[in-house]
């Protein structure tokens, strides 16, 4: 336990929290309070609005006090991330209804999660967070696919594939969602401004395949799109199971 490497402190925070100290003044905060406040701030105003100063203000402490609990902002984001993931009840019950039902539920629940906490995908670009909730997630996954006749290695690949697909689709969705909100205009306004330019380009002859697309080409909702791709993946898996 006397590891002297930088990751040890990080992992300890995730798995065991702050050590209880005997001496010294009482802490005004707990790690949980900081993490929760951080999540609230990020949920409400986006990841770019989450600064250590604002967080300290919200908690009514000095800015630098936070650093008695968390070694850096990066670690705080890791803690926030692990606090937000983890097995939901819906997934736990779905784990007993066959692998297809379980995988679909997992994908849908994960999508919901990332849409609710849209900062989670942007926050996490430096390192994978191996916290208790992430591991519990993976544990539930292997429970849910227990009856799938694949090797463990293939199951792990499947976990990655589904997670990749979900995060990829959510990223797309958030991209378009942010487009209008950040520029301070409604979705309609946004398109009204872009359409003239795009129409001119489309009819320029440079993009013949796009010029002859049907009217409703871009009309799918994000959810329809998501279900379409999810169906493809699961159908592909089923087909592969029939003839290996």
């Amino acid at each position: 336990m006397t590891d002297r490497n930088p990751l040890a402190r990080s992992l300890q925070l995730l798995w065991e929290g702050l050590p209880e100290r005997a001496k010294g003044p009482k802490s005004r905060l707990t790690l949980g309070q900081i993490v929760t406040a951080g999540i609230e701030l990020a949920d409400a105003d986006g990841i770019e609005a989450l600064s250590m100063r604002k967080l300290a203000q919200k908690l009514d402490v000095g800015t630098m006090s936070l650093y008695r609990y968390v070694p850096s902002k990066g670690e705080l984001l890791d803690l926030m991330l692990d606090a937000v993931v983890g097995p939901s009840q819906a997934r736990r019950t779905a784990a007993e209804r066959g692998w297809r039902e379980f995988l679909a539920t997992t994908a849908r629940e994960t999508r919901k999660l990332y849409i609710t906490h849209s900062w989670a995908l942007q926050a996490n670009w430096s390192r994978p967070v191996l916290g208790p909730n992430s591991v519990a997630d993976l544990n539930l996954f292997f429970t849910g696919v227990k009856n799938l006749s694949s090797s463990d290695q293939e199951k792990m690949n499947l976990a990655t594939v589904i997670d990749s697909y979900v995060t990829g689709t959510v990223r797309q969705e958030l991209l378009w969602l942010n487009a209008s909100s950040e520029s301070g205009m409604s979705d309609d306004e946004f398109w009204t401004y872009q359409l003239p330019t795009l129409n001119r380009v489309m009819s320029s002859g440079r993009f013949p395949a796009m010029a002859e697309l049907s009217e409703n080409t871009f009309d799918s909702t994000w959810e329809e799109n998501f279900e379409f791709g999810l169906g493809l993946i699961l159908d592909g898996l089923e087909a592969r199971l029939r003839r290996p």
Copy 2:
């Protein structure tokens, strides 16, 4: 052309570049030089190392001079992004070898692109970039799936699904790649530090499904993983074509 909306300037930069001025001193730079230098910087040192000051230094001009060419850093990133995407030769030739070959090539080429320019995914969180190369990309896509017996709407869904899958997998891959590099240790060191903690957790009884996984569960390469998921999607599509 006398639009007075904020997006007009943005779209104009993407599609037409800077207007040529008659009067005044000669420009020391071109938009292309700035974009290229930005890409070089981001490729070499990552997106967080790309600041307007460093970029100006690299180009040997004053920092604020850049703002005569580009209205903000965000717009610069948009330009960099569109400069980096666009149809490759491999995809163009694959467009005539049937939809399955074309889709697989598209996915693989896009993956390579995002791995080469790993900043591209992180840079683009505010709005979708509808530049000439992005549109050319989509145009090629519809050319490549011309013989696919689906509606245009379904084809568009397919484009989104594949792009989502690719960006999702690359994000995962970069996440683990950055983990070791950013913390300044090799991949091996990184794991040496984490494994003791993880092993303790695994054998704690809290995660029974994970405790009994086979040795090679986590041994797949990222490329194998990628091909696995890609195969599932394409197989699913084929199955769906046989019985709609």
